[in-house]
Each structure stands twice: as structure tokens, then as C-alpha cells.
Symmetry: C2
Subunit: 170 residues, 2 copies
């Protein structure tokens, strides 16, 4: 369960690369700097696109790390360009994909600490269900929504990515 779910979160994060392609093309076609999109937000007191991607990355790499008994790699949150943001996603996916299924053995018994909950821990299973899944998809969806709100022609299939449908008769 842990391996497959973290892998799915990573795949959904990776789908943002296609959304970044569309953001770049949109900005080029309209002749504005794509950084405008990277710094856009849905509300003045909500975090901008760059943060949404950084945060999605952190929840994915955090799950891959803490649930496999490793400290996840530290990334500095210093991305400013679309190229740097792509590299942040790439590094996150590379780490996540480096964790094998067997390294998640015992994940449900692990205790995880989060910087925003000092003095507290959460069990591995609750961390996956209550923290990883909701937060990873929250930030991936919010990143998508910021682009969508700004006119980039992203659609649900860009968000979902490839799906393992097979022919009904097969």
C-alpha cells in the first residue's frame, strides 16, 4: 500500500511537468514572461504557484523518506524559474523512485514528525492517509488551478496523466 500510493502521488506530481509545458507555450503565445504565472496565486494571502509545487514536492519526498526510514533529501526552496521548478520536481521523483517496495516494510509502525507540529508525532499509516495524500493532491491541484485560472489550457487529463484502462472485451 505505501509503495503504491507514494508512487501514485509522485506520478501525479510528475504530471505537472506537462502543465508547465503548457504554461510556457501560453506565456510565449501571449508574449508575457512565464514568471508571472509562477508567482500567481488564487488569493492575496495564499501561496503562489512556485510554493505550491515546492510543497507538493516536499510531501511526496517526505513520504518516500520517512516511511522508508530515511531522512528525505533537503531542497532549499530557492527556485525562481520554470527550469529550476522542473529540476525540483525531477529531483523529488528521482529520490522517490529510488525507494524500493521492500524499504516500506514496517512503514505503518513508524512515527513521523512534522515541522509544523512540534512535540507531536503521527503513525505511519495516518501520516500516509491524513497527511501525504491530502497535502500532495491539495498542492498539485492548487498549482493546476492557478494555471487554469490564468487561462492556460490545462485540462483534467493533464492532471490525471496516463490511466491503465483496457478494452472491456479483453
Amino acid at each position: 500500500m505505501f509503495f503504491q500510493i507514494v508512487r501514485q502521488c509522485a506520478q501525479s506530481l510528475g504530471n505537472l511537468q506537462g502543465c508547465l509545458d503548457k504554461a510556457e507555450r501560453h506565456a510565449a503565445a501571449r508574449n508575457f514572461d512565464v514568471d508571472v504565472l509562477l508567482n500567481s496565486r488564487l488569493a492575496p494571502d495564499q501561496h503562489p504557484f512556485i510554493y505550491q509545487v515546492q510543497s507538493a514536492c516536499d510531501y511526496v519526498k517526505g513520504a518516500a523518506g520517512w516511511l522508508s526510514g530515511q531522512a528525505p533529501p533537503q531542497h532549499a526552496d530557492d527556485e525562481r524559474t520554470i527550469g529550476e521548478l522542473r529540476e525540483r520536481i525531477r529531483k523529488t521523483l528521482a529520490f522517490t523512485e529510488s525507494v524500493t517496495e521492500s524499504q516500506y516494510d514496517g512503514a505503518s509502525e513508524r512515527k513521523v514528525k512534522l515541522s509544523w507540529a512540534p512535540g507531536k508525532v503521527i503513525g505511519g499509516r495516518d501520516y500516509l492517509l491524513q497527511i501525504t495524500i491530502p497535502n500532495a493532491f491539495f498542492h498539485i491541484t492548487t498549482a493546476y488551478a492557478i494555471l487554469r485560472h490564468n487561462g492556460v489550457d490545462v485540462g483534467k487529463m493533464d492532471f490525471l496523466g496516463p490511466l491503465n484502462f483496457v478494452d472491456e472485451s479483453s
Copy 2:
């Protein structure tokens, strides 16, 4: 895995009830009809808030139904008021909570058909990972984002709901 993940999706859907409370209070304080929020959207060609909630409900009830070998209850998508939307969530959660853990036995071997993929099926595990989780959280987050974009003071903790943290020393 199936039981716990569908239950988590349902809990996250249920957290929208608290967001609806805040939407109602926001509209009352500003003296506008809360229906304005229900019909708001992030892009002119994206679905409005009501649809986002309906769709989140459908992915949750679909998972609870198809993965437990039952057709999920049909809901008519005729909600127009905040009270009707609350009732839609309530019905969805009641059905989802009626499915016991043992009813998900064999879920990974089930084949699921979706109305938007005619002639195709997807295996139970892929349905959970690739369809249920991404879509349920996509629509819950988009509903949240529409309220946030319109000034409702929802925050991340409204989205996450209660978390099973315990004291580190315990």
C-alpha cells in the same frame, strides 16, 4: 487498503461541510446571497463550485460502491442550494460508511467501468490509485479553492480536518 483509503476520501469530502459553514457566514457578513459562491468558478470554462462538490461525491461513492461489488446509489445532480449540497455530501458519506471493510475483499480483482471511458474497464487497484484518489482530491481541492479565491477565510486545517497526532513523549 481499499477500505481505509475510501474512508479517508470520505473524511476529506466531509471536511467541506466546515467550509460551507464559513461560506455561509462570509456571505451573511457581506450581505450577499451564498448562491453566488455556489455558482462561482476559477475559469469561465471550468465547472462551478456545485459541480465540484457533486463530482467529488461521485468519485467517493463510486469507489465505495464499485470496489465493494455494488452499484453506488444514483444522485440526480439537481442541487441548487447550500442545504441541498450539504444533503448530497451527507447521503454520500452515509452510503460510504455503510460499506464494511470485508466488503472490499477482492476489490483489486474487480473491473470498473466509467461513463467517460466507454468500452473500457480499469482494474480495482488502478481505479483506486489513478481515478478515485486523484479525482476525489482534485474536486475537493477545487471546491475549496473557489471559496478561497472568493475571500472565504478557509485555511489548510479546514481542508485537512482532525489529524491523529499524539504527543512525542507518549
